[in-house]
């Protein structure tokens, strides 16, 4: 069921989600600066088209798992911005009762399996979720996201081998934002073709313009179909870019302002979709403004909810160490 034509309504939904992620992340950055969010905080700004495009082709029961740069994934899969922001600020109303923070959030009901703080660890776990799909004989696919930096971890290839050997329904999504913290891909990887990293295991792969949500959706649908047909895993290399530092504490001295500026001006995923909406669907400035206003209120509501929520009771220190 390849999505060749996407309706105006669907396009507006994609736009809505991408803008929501961007404004949410800007707000998170602001709250971090004010000391309301602590620890590590990795923003997704610039990469929005990847998760929004993939989410648009997901079917009921499909799962997601990703690294610590996870806010966008949660918002894309329908998790409540209020509870995500509450978790970022360490409040009891957050998804993990304030005990996980930015990097460790989960929603079993939305099929979101985290939020993992160890680079690459989510890759075999994602293959395991796909293994469970096969074991349970359902038709779900697990979208397993990791960066081009994590793609150099050994366990990624252990997972590739087993996923291909056992034909597990997993789409490995390599979000290639070109920098593994401060190390550019060419300085860390012997090859620039991340999509080809699975060839030794017979896993097909494809490079995708991760700054165009429609390209992402089209290729993701193709990859998911491959999995659902019982053909095993698929690798999608999403060529994307992060505008902010690796985390809030990264001054990003390893690249020039001009480099970032050029991507923002020429390739921004939200502007790209906006142009399509204007040119093909005659969406007016007024309509965009209404959407922007709506999102602004969602984000400020999330922020207010978080800041007005209580911290966890001190007794919560001792709960959830073990499941009942």
């Amino acid at each position: 069921m390849e999505k060749t034509s996407i309706s105006k309504k669907q396009l507006l939904e994609l736009y809505h989600k991408m803008v929501l992620i961007r404004r949410f992340e800007e707000k998170a950055g602001q709250l971090y600066g004010m000391g309301h969010i602590g620890g590590f905080c990795h923003l997704y700004i610039g990469q929005e088209a990847v998760v929004v495009g993939i989410d648009s082709i997901k079917e009921n029961g499909d799962q997601d798992i990703t690294s610590y740069r996870d806010h966008g994934h949660m918002l894309a899969c329908g998790m409540d911005p209020k509870m995500v922001m509450a978790e970022l600020t360490g409040r009891f109303t957050g998804y993990s009762k304030g005990k996980g923070g930015s990097m460790h959030m989960f929603s079993k009901s939305e099929g979101f399996y985290g939020g993992h703080g160890i680079v690459g660890a989510q890759v075999p776990i994602g293959a395991g979720i796909a293994f469970a799909n096969k074991y349970k004989k359902n038709s779900c696919v697990c979208f397993t996201y990791f960066g081009e930096g994590a793609a150099n971890q050994g366990q990624v290839y252990e997972a590739f081998n087993m996923a291909s050997l056992w034909k597990l329904p997993v789409v490995f999504v390599i979000e290639n934002n070109q920098y593994a913290m401060g190390t550019s891909m060419v300085r860390a990887s012997s090859t620039e073709e991340m999509f080809a990293r699975g060839l030794a295991f017979n896993i097909p792969g494809k490079a995708v313009n991760g700054m165009n949500v429609l390209d992402v959706a089209k290729e993701a649908a193709h990859a998911a179909d491959h999995c659902r047909a019982g053909k095993g895993p698929f690798i999608l290399e999403m060529k994307t870019y992060r505008y902010r530092g690796h985390s809030m504490s990264d001054p990003a001295k390893y690249r020039t302002r001009e480099e970032v500026q050029k991507v923002r001006e020429e390739k921004d995923p939200i502007d790209t979709l906006r142009s399509i909406l204007i040119e093909k669907h005659k969406i007016s400035e007024k309509q965009f403004k209404a959407t922007d206003a709506e999102i602004k209120s969602i984000v400020s509501e999330a922020s207010d909810f978080a800041l007005n929520s209580p911290e966890p009771d001190i007794e919560e220190l001792w709960t959830d160490v073990y499941a009942g």
């Binding site: 075999p124 395991g128 074991y135």
Partner: protein
């Protein structure tokens, strides 16, 4: 010249084996490299080649004979040469009729039943209120007990599956998973590549969705490759998700020193895993505990580290074979009562402790012996109650001394029962060195019953 063919030792811990099949008969000519017999060890069926050239004179043991001690005479070959050597009498070999697996219980020789590590059944019945009134008791090895626990739980729950290296077609590197592939099929008994980090992460992901993997590590030494997934993913996710995503998984396999396999293959990981919140850690000694605790571990909604021991796999114990006999995690077992000193141990440490206890009895010392069974959470109620009675305590374990289980128990006894102590708590542990290979050094690195006796005498001021 007549040459003796002796029962070979084919694995580090092999003490005896079976002669599954003879490929030669008296009168047959053999040359080096010819397969003369199939020898079955505790691990595998191995082809045994002749290293001699000559003619088979006599097959001393019959095909199908079990429990043949290593280095005992199995055949005689006439080789080139003039000098005749004396052949040991056939009577030196214990005559045992061939047995099959299903009448194992009846034909096990009396001598095997009174294995030195066996716990007296009546004693354990008195002391162990977990046992039911009309229990059916069979003699099982620890290996068979673990196998039956897995099989029973897999029959009960379709979400339980076993994965690991060589668990399926090979029938288990230590034969623990023997027969499971045949009964449950390759979808539930899954041979993995040699990829501990990867398959551990994969199993953790599967467990997050609610199915119940049993992950076999060929030995826990190899789980070092997977520590990140065990500690950072399996143990912590329930907490980090505010209780949303738990991880019902068992990590099991042999742990601790085997025999002559040196530093990288000989270490007890109990204290390492026991320091991690979110994990439960079990190390059984007897077959009954291995079975009952593994069943509990499989039903647990949390990750359980289940530490087995290669040397104990072949030891037999009386086991209540009722499939509903489960033993709760977190409960220690008082093996024998005494008033002079409390000895606390677990796993193979119990074997040394029971050996030491015989010597202590000769010295007129009545020890109360507590088998911890679970290392996390530790059953301090049982420990403190016993120490309050005996006022003295010695801990026994095979692991390294620094940050050992015994050192933690000692500190807790100091905190919880300081006024009851008449002597410092002493820890018997392995030595603070990587395990050496040389036989004498390895022996020196491990705990011995004599060291336990020495420590007990010391806390009783009898040294």
């Amino acid at each position: 010249m007549k040459t003796e063919i002796l029962m070979p030792s084919l694995s580090p811990t092999m003490e005896e084996g079976s002669l599954a099949k003879w490929y030669v008969s008296p009168g047959d000519k053999v040359k080096p490299g010819d397969i003369i017999a199939d020898i079955e060890t505790d691990k595998a069926l191995m082809e045994y080649e002749s290293i001699e050239e000559g003619t088979v004179v006599e097959l001393i043991v019959k095909e199908g004979t079990e429990n043949i001690k290593v280095n005992s005479l199995i055949a005689v070959i006439e080789t080139e040469g003039t000098e005749e050597i004396n052949i040991r009498k056939v009577n030196d070999i214990k005559k045992i009729e061939p047995v099959s697996a299903d009448n194992y219980e009846e034909v096990t020789s009396e001598e095997d039943k009174v294995d030195s590590v066996n716990i007296n059944l009546e004693d354990s019945k008195k002391l162990n209120n977990e046992t039911t009134e009309n229990k059916v008791v069979n003699e099982l090895t620890v290996r068979e007990a673990i196998n039956s626990a897995i099989a029973e739980e897999m029959r009960l729950d379709g979400d339980v599956f076993l994965m690991g290296e060589e668990v399926g077609e090979y029938q288990g590197a230590y034969k623990v998973s023997q027969g499971l592939l045949e009964e449950f099929g390759p979808e539930r008994v899954i041979d993995t590549p040699i990829t501990e980090h990867g398959f551990t992460g994969l199993a953790v992901g599967a467990a997050f969705t609610g199915i119940r993997p049993i992950v076999e590590f060929m030995t826990f030494n190899f789980a070092m490759q997977a520590l990140d997934q065990i500690i950072n993913s399996a143990a912590k996710t329930n907490y980090m998700s505010g209780g949303q995503i738990n991880c019902p998984i068992v990590f099991r396999g042999p742990n601790g020193a085997a025999a002559r396999v040196a530093a990288q293959h000989s270490q007890d990981f109990a204290s390492l895993y026991a320091s991690i919140p979110g994990l439960k850690v079990v190390q059984p000694f007897s077959a009954e505990d291995a079975k009952g605790l593994l069943k509990s571990a499989i039903r647990e909604n949390n990750p359980v580290i289940f530490l087995e021991n290669e040397i104990l796999y072949g030891k037999s114990f009386p086991v209540n074979i009722d499939p509903e006999q489960i033993i709760p995690i977190g409960k220690a077992k008082t093996i024998s009562t005494g008033q002079d000193v409390t000895i606390i141990s677990y796993g193979i440490g119990m074997m040394h402790t029971l050996e030491a206890d015989k010597k202590l009895k000769e010295l007129g010392i009545n020890a109360e012996i507590v088998d911890l069974r679970t290392i996390r959470p530790i059953d301090f109620d049982t420990i403190i109650e016993s120490v309050k009675k005996t006022n003295r305590c010695v801990t026994v374990e095979e692991s390294f001394p620094v940050c050992s289980v015994g050192s933690y128990i000692g500190s807790q006894i100091m905190i919880r029962a300081f006024d009851y102590l008449d002597a410092p708590v002493l820890n018997c542990t392995g030595k603070d060195v990587p395990m050496p290979y040389a036989e004498n050094l390895e022996k020196a690195a491990l705990i011995t019953p004599d060291e336990i006796v020495f420590s007990v005498k010391k806390v009783l001021y009898k040294d």
